[in-house]
Point group: C2
Chain length 136, copies 2
Amino acid sequence: MKIIFEPIGYVHSEFKNVKDIPTQSVLASEKIGEIELLDKFKDGLLGLKKGMHIVVLFNFHESKDYKLIQSPCYTNEEKGVFSIRSPFRPNGIGMSIVKIESIRDNILEFKGLDMLDKTPILDIKPYVVSLNPKID
Amino acid sequence: MKIIFEPIGYVHSEFKNVKDIPTQSVLASEKIGEIELLDKFKDGLLGLKKGMHIVVLFNFHESKDYKLIQSPCYTNEEKGVFSIRSPFRPNGIGMSIVKIESIRDNILEFKGLDMLDKTPILDIKPYVVSLNPKID
C-alpha cells in the first residue's frame, strides 16, 4: 500500500546544508524562516495569526535512507528509530513546533526554524496546549 | 512533486466507523488501542516502554477529499484547514499523542485511542515535554 502526498509549500531557510541545522526547534527558537504555500492552498491559513504556535509536518527530503537502530549524537546507547527524532526514518516525516511571526498572502513567517532550505511542507496544524497529555 | 510513504503498521481499534471516534485523544484518554507494526519495522521500537508518551502520525484513510475553509463542530466560525485539526486536509495526516501500555513483539498497546480500525500508521516519535514551546 502506498500513500501519496504532495507538498503544500516549501521552506525558505538560511540552512542550506544538513550540518547547519540545529537539532531541535527549541534550540533555534530565535531563527526566522518562511513557508511559501502553493497559491492554491493559501486560503487554508485563515484563522492563523502572529503569536500563535503551529505544528509543522515536513519531509526530510535529503534523508534518502533509514536505520531501525541508531545511536543519536547525545548518547552512546542504541535506540530504535521510533524512540528518537532522527531524520533517517522509514517515512521521512519531520515535526517542528514554531511560532508565527507574520502572514502575508501565501507567506508564513515563523520563529523556530530548524529546517533545510527548500524543505517540502506536508501539513500545518494548530498547536493546542490543552490537548497535550497531563504527565505526572 | 510526489512524496510516497508506506505504512509502518496498522491500528486495531474498537472504532469501526468515523462517527464513533472521539474528536481528540485527550477526550479518549482511557480507550485502549493497538498498533500492529509490520514485522520488518519492529526493531525500531527499541527504547520505547510502558508509561512513555509517543506522537503517532497516521493517515486519515477514510477522508478522501478536503476543504480549505471549514466550520468545525465547536464553532460557527469559518476556519482555514491549517488552523484546525479536521481530517479533511490536503495531505491527510493525523497526529495523536498517546501513552504506551505495553509492547509485545510487534504489538504496541496504547491508551488514548482516537483512530479508526485499520488506520495506516506513518510514524511514531517520542513525545518530549522539554521540546514543547514555552507559552506565556
